[in-house]
Symmetry: C2
Subunit: 760 residues, 2 copies
C-alpha cells in the first residue's frame, strides 16, 4: 500500500459538479412542505429598557401565523457558553443585535411587514463600548446579576519563572498590539428550518458546523419547552462557508423552534446579508500587552502577555479563544518562561465567536511583531533570529505539547530561499521583506470531552461504497479527502465512493469542524473503517484465489497477488461471490477514532493535539509613501502539512487562508460606533476580492506525521495565522514604521510616517 | 433476557403518528426542485400494428419539454424476467397497456394535453385472449421471435410415483378449478421521480418493494443508455401498500429515466387510479386440473396437478408463481407422491405479477376444494380428514422441506373448537361450515442468490439508536417489529429507536419484501446487530460496575446486576462514560443475516425456507337460495406464527389477509373482455369495504421457531391463502353446490343451484 494512486493526487472536489451546476441545496434552497417564514425584530438601541412591546397589530396582519416575544420562551432559558443569552430578550436590551420579537408568516415579505407593525417603546440607556472602560470599578454592569463585567474565565498560564528570566535577559522589548473585529463573510448566510413531528421530535435543517453538539443543545431546548426525551435530528444543508461562524447554536435557531411549536408548522429563518453582518458573531478584538526577552545569542528567555478581549454583551466561543492563544504564546519558538493572563470583558458591543485560527492570529500578530522588535534590539537578522529559536521534533514545550513532526525550520528556509531574503534585505526604495511563523494544532484538539469522529462504510456488490462520516464538509473539501482515503485503501476509483455527511440520524458522532481537525480525525476514522473492509475482502479473496491474504493487494478494482501474477479477480466479482454464498454477506464496517490527545489540566497544560502544524510566511511589500498604500510584491506561504492527501485542496486552503489573512492585515474591519455597525455590507466592508490577490506561492513542506492518516496533519486554519505580522514586519522593513493596530490602513501608515518624520 | 417487556406486546405502529397527521411523504407528495411531470400514451388496441406515430404537434405544445417514443430507447433494451418487454413499444402492440410514447411537461395537465396531440395510426390485429387458444398449434405468435406462446419455463415437480400410487388408492377425485385476475388495490398508486445529477448518477424516488434489486436493474439501464458504471440511488417514499405489485421494475420507471435524460430535469410519473388498474400487473389467473387420492383410512396417496397460467403479453414475476405453488402442492398435508406441471402462456392480455401468497392461494384453492371432494368420497369428515393428513414437526416433505416447528394440527383444533364444528356440521337451513389449511414459507425463501438482509445500528450518548435496515416497510409494520426487537435487546423504550429503511445509499442490501420474510430475516439481522451493541455495553458496564458482564442486564435504560442490587447505572450515563474516555467511542455495529435455506435444485427440490408457517381457516356461511348471496356468519383464522413479536400487527396481517381472501373468494375480479379491462375503478371493481367485514377471529397458535427472532415466523401472506377454499367448502356444505371458478358470485351459485335442481 505504499505506491499511492489516489492519496497525494490533485483530485478536484467531488462535490464540484453539484455546486457548479446549481444542484447543491443550500439552506436557502431547501423547502419543506407547509413551511412558514420567520423574521426577527432586533433592538433599536444597543442599551435600552423596553417600556412597551405591543404585538397585537402584527398578529392581526393577514398571513401572520405567530408572533413571539420573550414571554413565549421558557422562563430562565439561556443559551451560550456562559448561559447568559436568552434567545428573546425582555427588560433591558444589551446590544444592537438583541432579539426582542419574531414573526412566522406565509412569506418573508409578510413577516417583514409584521415586524414593522410591532410597537416598541424604549428608554435608551448609556452604553459601554470600550472594554477598558467596562473594567473600571463602578462601571455600569452589563449583566446586573453578574457582579462584574469581567467574565469569570480564569485564563492564566504560567510556565517557568518570567521574573527571573527578565533579570537574566540581555534584551527586552515591550509593546502593545491590538486587533479589530472581522467577520467570516460566508457566501452562504445563516439559516435553519425547524420542523416538529406529531410526537414533538425535532428536525432542524441547518448549516451548522457542529451537528452532534447542536443536537445536544436542542435536546436541552426541547426539555425546557416541556418536551422531554425527544429525538432531535440535524440535517445539514450544503454549507456555503463556516470559518467558525456556525460553531455554536444561536438565538435564531431557538426562535425558529419556538415558532414551529407555536404554529405546528415548519418554520424557516434565513439571514439577509445585512443580518449576517450585524447579527452574527465576529472574531473577537483584542488588546495585547507583550514583553519578550532574549539572551546575548538571541535565544528567547521569556514571553509575558496581558490581554483584554471585548466579549460583547453575551458569551459564545469567542470568549474561549485564549485557550488556543496559549498555543503560540507558550510554544511558538522555544521559550522557557511564559506568563499569560487574559480578561474577557462584557460591553454593549456585539458578542464574538470562533473564527479560523480561534485567537491564534491575534496572539501571533503580537508575538511575531514583538519578535521583530526584539531581533532588531539584539542586532540579529529577524529570519536568522527565528531559525535560532525554531521549534524542533521531539521537543516538549512548556505547556507540555509533545512535538512529533516539525518542519518549522524547513518552512523558514523555504521563505528565505524563495523570497531571496538576504538580497532583498538590502532593500532599495520603499520595498521591504517580513517573515512570521506559526504553530497550530494539527492532530485534533481535545477541547471537548471527546475529540472523536465515527465512520460507517458499506460496500455494494459492484465495489461501490457509501461512507457515513461524522465530519461536516463546510466547503473545506473533507468529503473529497475522506473519499480519497477510502478509495486508496480499497483500491477503487474515487467515483465509487459516496460520502454521506449531513444527517445526525445517519452519521456517527463528531465533535464538529474546528481546530483544523477534520482531515486528521475524520480521516483516521475513515481509514480505520476502510481497513476493516479491506481486511474482510482480502481474507475472502484469499480463499477464492488460494493465496495468503498478506500477499494480496487491490488496485483499480482488481484483487491480485503480489507474488503470483496468475492469481487475480475483479473486485466486484469477488464481492458478489462473498455475498451470494450461503451464509454470505455484504461488507460493512464501523470505526470510531478518538485521538490520544489530552484535555488541559487546571493549569491549562497538557498535550492538546496529537501533532502540531507549522509554517512560515514571508512577504515582500512596496509602500507608497505618498498614499500609504501597501502593495504585496511576493508572498511565500510555506506550510508543514505532514504528508499531503490532496495538494490541490491543500493549496486551496493555503491560498484562501492567506487571502483572508491579507484582508485581516490590510483592510477588513467591522466599524462599530457606539455599538452600532457602520459598514455592514460588502460595499463598505473591505474584503479582498479577486483583483486584490497578490502573487502567493503555497509551498508544501512534507514531514511524516506518524499518527496522521497517510502521514497528514491539519491545514484548515494555519493559512491566515502569520499573515498580518509578516506584512507588518515587511512594512517596517520597507519604511521604518510599525503599525501595531490592525488593520494596517494607508491612513495609519501615513500618520506613522508623519510622526516618524516629526521625530527625525 | 427471558421476560420480554417489548417483544410480545401489542405496540401500535411507530409510523402511525406521521401517517395519521398527514406528515408522511408518499411518492405523490414528494417534490424535487425543477421537477417535470411525465405521462404515458398507451396502445389503443390490445393487438395492433403501429402504422404511423407522429409526435410533432405534441412537441410544439407550450410547456412540453420532451416527447419520447421507442426510437429514443436504446435499441434492444428489454426489461422483465424474460427480457421480453421493451419499455416503449414499436412495430406491434401486444396488449392494451403497451406504452408507445411519453411526454414530460411542466404540469400533468400539459402532459395529458400533449398525449392527445400525438397522432397514431393503427392497423388493429386479431388478438388471442385465451391461454388454451394460445397454446394451440398454429396460433398466432405473441412474440414472433419466440417460437411458441408457451414460455420456456420448465415448471415440473415429480416426487415419488404418482401412477403406482393411483393404482394403490382406495379413492380418487379429479376436477378442474380456475381463478381470476385480481389486483392489489394499493391505496398508494405507483409512481417515481427520476433525477440525474451532473455526472449522470441516478436517484430514483420510488415506492418499490425491492430497492436493492431495482438498483441493479437501473444500473443496467444506465449502462444501456451509455452511462457506464454510474451510481444509482433508490429513495423509497412512504409506501401505501405493495402486496407484490411493486416487486419488479416497470416501464414507467424506465420512461421517467429516459425523460430525465432528455430534459436534464427530474421527471415524476404518478399513476392515476385508472392507470393503477389497467397498467399494473394483477395476480395471474390459472386453470388447474387436479387429481388426488387416498387409502381406505383416508391417508393421502398422491396429488397430481396440471396448470395453465395466462401470462399476458410480457413476463414479470407472475410467471414464476409456480415455484411457490409447488410448496402447497408438494407439502400441504403429508402426500408421498406428487406430480405437477405448469405452463405459462403468452396472450394479448395484461401481464401478471406477484401478489400476496405468490400463487399459493390459486394452488390451495384447487387442493383444498379437491380435498373436500376426496373426504366426501372416502366418507370421512373433512376436518377429521385434514387432521389425519396433517403435517408435523420433524417431517421432511417430498420436496425436501425440513419442517421444524409446525402447529397445523393445533390450528385445525382451534377451528374445530371455535367454530363448534361438530355441532355446526349437523346444519339446519342453508348454513354450512368449511375448513381449509395452508402451508407457506415462514423463514425466508431463497429465490434469489441471497436471501439476506443487513442492519447497521448506532447508539447515541443518551441511549437512543438509529437502525439502518435493508427491510422496506410497505405498510406491513416491519419498522415497528424491528424497533421492538432492538429495543428489547438493548433494554430501551421503543420511542428511543429510529428505523431508517428508505435509501439504498444508507440501508444495507436486502432482497426485498416478499415471501413473508421481513420479520424473520430483517428481524434476525436487527437482532444480530443489537446483540453486538448489547455486548459492547455490558462489557464496558462490567468494568464500570465491577461486575461480570454475564450477570448484567438492561431494562428501562438501566444497566443492573442480576446478582447485586447495589450495582446499577443509567444506560446514558454509561454510554457517555464509554464515549468521553480517552480513546473512547460511540457504539456502532453491523450485521448481515442470510438464512441457512436453499435454492431449489434443477428438480425444484431443496429446503426453500428455514421454517414454514401453518394455519387453518374455518368459516360458517349462510347462503340465500333466492339470491345466491353468501353471508359469512363466523370466520376463524388460526395461524401458527412461531412466537408473536407484536400481536397487534400480527392480527392486523391476519385480518387484512383474511379480508383480501374474502374479496378473492366472493367478489373481486378484473373483467377483461378481448384484452380490455371493463371495470378498472373502485366503483365497478368489487373490493370488500368496511361494511363487508364479517366477524373474523384471529387465533394465534404459538410454536417456538428455533431460528426465528425471538421464536417468530413470517405471517405477511398466509392470511389470504386458505380463505377461498374454506368458503367454497362451507358453501358446498350449506347448499350442496361446489363453485370451482373464483370468484364465487351469487350468479354462479344460483346457476349451480338451478343445475343441481335440474339434476334431481
Amino acid at each position: 500500500m505504499d505506491n499511492f494512486t489516489i492519496v497525494g493526487q490533485k483530485i478536484p472536489k467531488i462535490d464540484a459538479p453539484v455546486k457548479a451546476t446549481g444542484d447543491a441545496l443550500y439552506i436557502q434552497d431547501i423547502k419543506v412542505s407547509g413551511m412558514l417564514h420567520g423574521k426577527i425584530l432586533y433592538s433599536k438601541y444597543p442599551h435600552a429598557r423596553i417600556l412597551k412591546l405591543d404585538t397585537s397589530k402584527a398578529e392581526t396582519l393577514p398571513g401572520v401565523r405567530a408572533v413571539v416575544t420573550a414571554a413565549d420562551m421558557p422562563p430562565n432559558f439561556r443559551i451560550g457558553v456562559m448561559k447568559d443569552n436568552p434567545p428573546l430578550k425582555s427588560g433591558k436590551t444589551k446590544s444592537i443585535r438583541d432579539e426582542i420579537a419574531a414573526v412566522a408568516a406565509i412569506s418573508t415579505e409578510v413577516a417583514e411587514e409584521a415586524l414593522s407593525l410591532i410597537e416598541v417603546e424604549y428608554e435608551e440607556l448609556p452604553g459601554i463600548f470600550d472594554p477598558i472602560e467596562a473594567m473600571q470599578e463602578g462601571a455600569t454592569l452589563i449583566h446586573e446579576e453578574v457582579k462584574s463585567n469581567i467574565l469569570k474565565m480564569p485564563w492564566k498560564l504560567v510556565c517557568g519563572d518570567v521574573e527571573t528570566a527578565k533579570k537574566d535577559s540581555a534584551h527586552i522589548v515591550e509593546d502593545t498590539f491590538s486587533t479589530q473585529w472581522v467577520t467570516h463573510c460566508c457566501m452562504g448566510t445563516s439559516g435553519c428550518i425547524a420542523q416538529l413531528d406529531a410526537s414533538n421530535n425535532l428536525t432542524l435543517y441547518s448549516n451548522t458546523q457542529i451537528p452532534s453538539l447542536a443536537q445536544n443543545d436542542f435536546i436541552e431546548a426541547l426539555n425546557a419547552f416541556g418536551y422531554k426525551n425527544r429525538r432531535v435530528r440535524i440535517i445539514q444543508s450544503v454549507i456555503g462557508g463556516g470559518f467558525g461562524s456556525k460553531l455554536d447554536t444561536y438565538a435564531y435557531e431557538y426562535i425558529a423552534i419556538l415558532l414551529a411549536i407555536k404554529t405546528r408548522k415548519p418554520v424557516k429563518i434565513i439571514f439577509s446579508r445585512e443580518e449576517e453582518f450585524f447579527a452574527t458573531s465576529p472574531r473577537q478584538c483584542t488588546i495585547t500587552k507583550i514583553s519578550q526577552g532574549c539572551d546575548k545569542e538571541g535565544r528567547l528567555t521569556f514571553r509575558e502577555i496581558e490581554m483584554i478581549l471585548d466579549n460583547g454583551a453575551y458569551t459564545s466561543w469567542g470568549a474561549t479563544t485564549p485557550s488556543v492563544m496559549m498555543l503560540p504564546i507558550s510554544s511558538l519558538y522555544k521559550v522557557p518562561n511564559i506568563k499569560y493572563v487574559a480578561k474577557c470583558v462584557y460591553t454593549n458591543n456585539t458578542y464574538c465567536q470562533a473564527m479560523r485560527g480561534y485567537g491564534n492570529p491575534q496572539a501571533t500578530f503580537a508575538i511575531e511583531s514583538s519578535l521583530d522588535q526584539l531581533a532588531e534590539k539584539a542586532g540579529i537578522d529577524p529570519l536568522e533570529f527565528r531559525i535560532r529559536n525554531s521549534n524542533e521534533p521531539g521537543e516538549i514545550t512548556p505547556q507540555r505539547f509533545k512535538i512529533t513532526s516539525c518542519g518549522m525550520k524547513e518552512c523558514i528556509d523555504e521563505v528565505a530561499k524563495r523570497l531571496a531574503w538576504k538580497t532583498k534585505k538590502e532593500h532599495k526604495g520603499n520595498r521591504g521583506v517580513g517573515i512570521a511563523s506559526l504553530i497550530h494544532v494539527g492532530g485534533g484538539a481535545r477541547v471537548y470531552k471527546s475529540d472523536g469522529c465515527g465512520t460507517i462504510i458499506k460496500m455494494d456488490d459492484f465495489g461501490k461504497v457509501d461512507v457515513f462520516t461524522g465530519a461536516s464538509d463546510i466547503g473545506q473539501g473533507s468529503d473529497t479527502v475522506i473519499a480519497q482515503i477510502v478509495a486508496e485503501v480499497l483500491g477503487i476509483p474515487i467515483e465509487d465512493v459516496n460520502v454521506v455527511n449531513n444527517d445526525t440520524d445517519i452519521c456517527p458522532w463528531d465533535v464538529g469542524v474546528h481546530a483544523s481537525r477534520t482531515t486528521f480525525v475524520a480521516g483516521n476514522a475513515a481509514l480505520g473503517a476502510a481497513k476493516k473492509i479491506r481486511e474482510q475482502i482480502l481474507e475472502a479473496a484469499g480463499k477464492l484465489l488460494e493465496e495468503e491474504p498478506s500477499f494480496l493487494d487491490i488496485k483499480n478494482s482488481i484483487i491480485y497477488s503480489t507474488k503470483d501474477k496468475e492469481k487475480s479477480t475483479p473486485l466486484g466479482k469477488a464481492l458478489r461471490k462473498i455475498h451470494y454464498t450461503l451464509g454470505g454477506k455484504m461488507l460493512m464496517a464501523e470505526y470510531f477514532y478518538d485521538p490520544a490527545n489530552e484535555n488541559f489540566d487546571r493549569e491549562f497544560k497538557g498535550n492538546l493535539s496529537v501533532s502540531y502544524a507549522y509554517g512560515a510566511h514571508g512577504v515582500e511589500v512596496e509602500v507608497d509613501k505618498e498614499t500609504g498604500q501597501v502593495k504585496i510584491l511576493n508572498y511565500i506561504a510555506a506550510h508543514d502539512v505532514g504528508k499531503p492527501i490532496n495538494p490541490l485542496l491543500l493549496e486551496g486552503q493555503i491560498y484562501g487562508g492567506g487571502l483572508q489573512g491579507i484582508g485581516y492585515a490590510l483592510g477588513e474591519k467591522m466599524i462599530y460606533k457606539n455599538g452600532r455597525l457602520m459598514n455592514g455590507n460588502f460595499l463598505d466592508y473591505k474584503m479582498p476580492t479577486v483583483k486584490d490577490v497578490p502573487p502567493v506561492q503555497a509551498v508544501i513542506v512534507e514531514t511524516d506525521e506518524k499518527d496522521g492518516p497517510f502521514g497528514a496533519k491539519g491545514i484548515g486554519e494555519p493559512g491566515l495565522v502569520p499573515t498580518a505580522p509578516a506584512i507588518a514586519n515587511a512594512i517596517y522593513d520597507a519604511v521604518g514604521v510599525r503599525i501595531k493596530d490592525l488593520p494596517i490602513t494607508p491612513e495609519k501608515i501615513l500618520k506613522a510616517l508623519k510622526e516618524k518624520q516629526g521625530r527625525t
